[in-house]
Amino acid sequence: MRNLIALELKRNRLRPYHIATLICGVTMLGFQYLMAAIPYMDPTEPDAELFSQYPFLMGITCLVCMAMFSILSAVMASRFVVEEYSGKRAILLLSYPISREKVLCLKLVLVFAYTVGAMLLCGAVIQAMFFLTESLFPLCSDQLTIKVVLQSLGFLFCCSVLAGLMGVIALWVGFPQKSVSVTIVASVVLATIVCQIISSALAFLPMMGAVLGVTGILAALAIKNLLRQVNNMEV
């Protein structure tokens, strides 16, 4: 299995995704400070108070980050799966004496793990930098406590897993048409819906649990269906 992962990484370069992750990180850091500065830029804004509270600020940043990484996940899934099983490239892939299910599972695990890992790292760095500057020159009116930090990390973890799962579900939509664009559009639509649902109850844990549960079930169904498609694939 480890050997197969190494081969997969040799075939598909990760450098573009590292660069995309870096760009996402820098953008999100800027976004976070911009949100935190709203009460100072426009004190008359009715919701200005919200932007000076850590849970809201971290939550909204995590959600935007999740949307970005779910799209990145779909792009990666398109490259690792859709393109590999399309056209003449599929002949090469299916000509190897390796279980088709194993190869697909490996690709899905790679895409999911990269998405979750990259978003966690990116989010953790953003939070660490933000909290560091907050401890020196606070922008928010809240008290910065360990509880706030842990809650933010927990929310970040849940959003990272959601981003990975959404990439798998988007692939389920795009794979039958072997279309990269359909996969990416599906991830945009999914991210919009999920962000909308979670943002309506940002600090409400059962809502996050429910969204994670439903998305997890959909992702499991997606994997089952994708495995069946690949097993019955003729090229």
Binding site: L7, K10, L92, L94, S95, Y96, P97, E234
Partner: protein, 243 residues
């Protein structure tokens, strides 16, 4: 008659209700070169894909090395080298890395790729990215990939496509050596009559998805010393009845 290593029995393949391959029956003996001759679109590639298990037959059976092409697909792919349609490579990797990758997928380690590259006429290209290769070089590399793991059977779809006359001759010599020195069995398809005529020990002519004639090349040479081309063309165009 020698041992049969590739066989198709009443092989039929239907796409969207249309029979592309109809009751195709033929067999290939161990240690021989079998030429599969037919016009473009006659069904050559489809038959080769059915043998490799890349397509599932609608009816009939196909076997390679005594293994069923659907049920024992993995075992067949392990012991077979193939080149189907236009060769595809990982463009950002070098020629040597593409071969190493192939070997790793085949579960083979510690095989030096340089001798194989030399064998197909690509010496000194180990570190060259495939993206810089010409059509002919890609075809040679694809043949290298098909033979590097020393398969028992080679299934090659239009193997000399894109090669110049020198390259065609070199590959012909290589195929013969693979058969004579390593005991490989080769099934190669082509629409080039001259190629099949010069390479194959036995020839199967496919027209409209079915094998219309199978014969030893030596017998055909004897029976049609001066009109071999016309003989094949009549088979390819109209089937056995017109021969």
């Amino acid at each position: 008659m020698g041992q049969i290593v590739i066989s198709a029995n009443n092989l039929t393949k239907t796409f969207s209700g249309k029979e592309v391959i109809r009751n195709c029956t033929f067999s290939v003996e161990r240690g021989s070169i079998y030429g599969f001759l037919g016009r473009n679109g006659a069904g050559k590639t489809t038959v080769l894909k059915l043998l490799l298990g890349l397509l599932k037959p609608s009816a009939g059976t196909a076997s390679v090395l005594g293994l069923d092409s659907v049920r024992d697909n993995g075992a067949i792919l392990q012991r077979t080298g193939s080149l189907i349609e236009t060769p595809i490579f990982y463009e950002h990797l070098s020629a040597a890395d593409n071969l190493r990758l192939h070997l790793a997928y085949m579960g083979i380690e510690d095989t030096d790729v340089e001798p194989t590259l030399c064998r197909v006429g690509l010496p000194g290209t180990e570190s060259q990215p495939v993206s810089t290769f010409s059509l002919g070089m890609r075809q040679r590399l694809a043949i290298a990939r098909a033979i590097i793991h020393r398969p028992e059977v080679l299934i090659l779809d239009e193997p000399v496509n894109g090669l110049d006359p020198v390259g065609m001759k070199e590959m012909r010599i290589l195929f013969r050596r693979l058969v004579q020195e390593e005991g490989m069995t080769i099934l190669m398809s082509s629409h080039l009559l001259s190629e099949i005529e010069q390479s194959a020990d036995r020839v199967g002519v496919i027209a409209d998805g079915t094998v219309v004639q199978e014969a030893e090349m030596a017998d055909i040479r004897k029976q049609h010393p001066s009109d071999m081309e016309d003989y094949f063309i009549s088979l390819i165009q109209g089937g056995a009845d017109h021969a």
